[in-house]
Subunit: 89 residues, 4 copies
């Protein structure tokens, strides 16, 4: 995972959330707030996918190629779990 890039994206998201707080303070229109929240959700979804992409290209390969069956199963079960949460929502 590109640590610097991930932190940069999180800082942007944090700034976006702070911007929404200021919008609420200055009585912005509800629908404009909702649109901004939807944009933050989309940015988080992209970041999420990017972290999983790195994960399967590193930790998963190590675990699956390793000989520790319990560790392998743990890593596969985690991926199934986060996918399940994403797919059902």
């Amino acid at each position: 995972m590109d640590k610097a890039d991930t932190i940069k994206r999180l800082k942007n998201i944090e700034g976006h959330v702070r911007g929404i707080e200021r919008m609420v303070e200055s009585d912005a229109y509800c629908i404009d707030l909702i649109r901004q929240i939807q944009a933050v959700q989309a940015a988080l979804g992209k970041l999420n996918a990017s972290i999983l992409d790195s994960h399967i290209h590193s930790c998963l390969i190590t675990a699956v190629r390793g000989e520790d069956m319990a560790e392998r199963e743990r890593v596969l079960a985690e991926i199934a779990e986060v996918y399940s949460l994403a797919a059902q929502t």
Copy 2:
């Protein structure tokens, strides 16, 4: 909309995002990052739904009971639009 409550929830979300940044800085496990991001997405979804709830109980009632047909259509189209984005994702 309860302004103080909305800002409080946004500040919690902002703090949550900052917590994820610290996790990345201290090399947290990818899957733990993904779980935290999913938790932030869920919190944003709840806030989103709560803002829409206030909106339809205030602005929408005013617009639909008013006599300005263009304004009414604008308000209804906005709700259809944000719902459409939510429903397809």
Copy 3:
């Protein structure tokens, strides 16, 4: 709501699901099944949004312009409820 169009879209979705059944029977590749299921989910999301759009342009207007406060609240609460489910997922 355009009844004929809604039924046509549902029949397409039903056919799409039957197509996935045939894919399973002929041992299609898992990822191809997942992609088709995601396509069906997207089609249902669009249909969902289209039904809500008709609903707010008919039933909602009638309820909000009417004088029955309990009925009005019922209709608004339903919209908040289905939006909430869509937004959090």
Copy 4:
């Protein structure tokens, strides 16, 4: 993947969609249609997650433990791709 179970679940989903068609034909209330569509979306999400779970416990293990680098990359990229679509929606 349990083929018989997958087909059974798809047949249930297909029957659910046909039930919604009948609801439309008999002029069911819009919100009831939306709720049924949301239920079908949830069932598809669960099936989706279940298919991915089998996939990573079979094809993925074979590909990652194998020596064909292009095949391994293909399988990992597919998982990243379907996850990305799920996470952003």
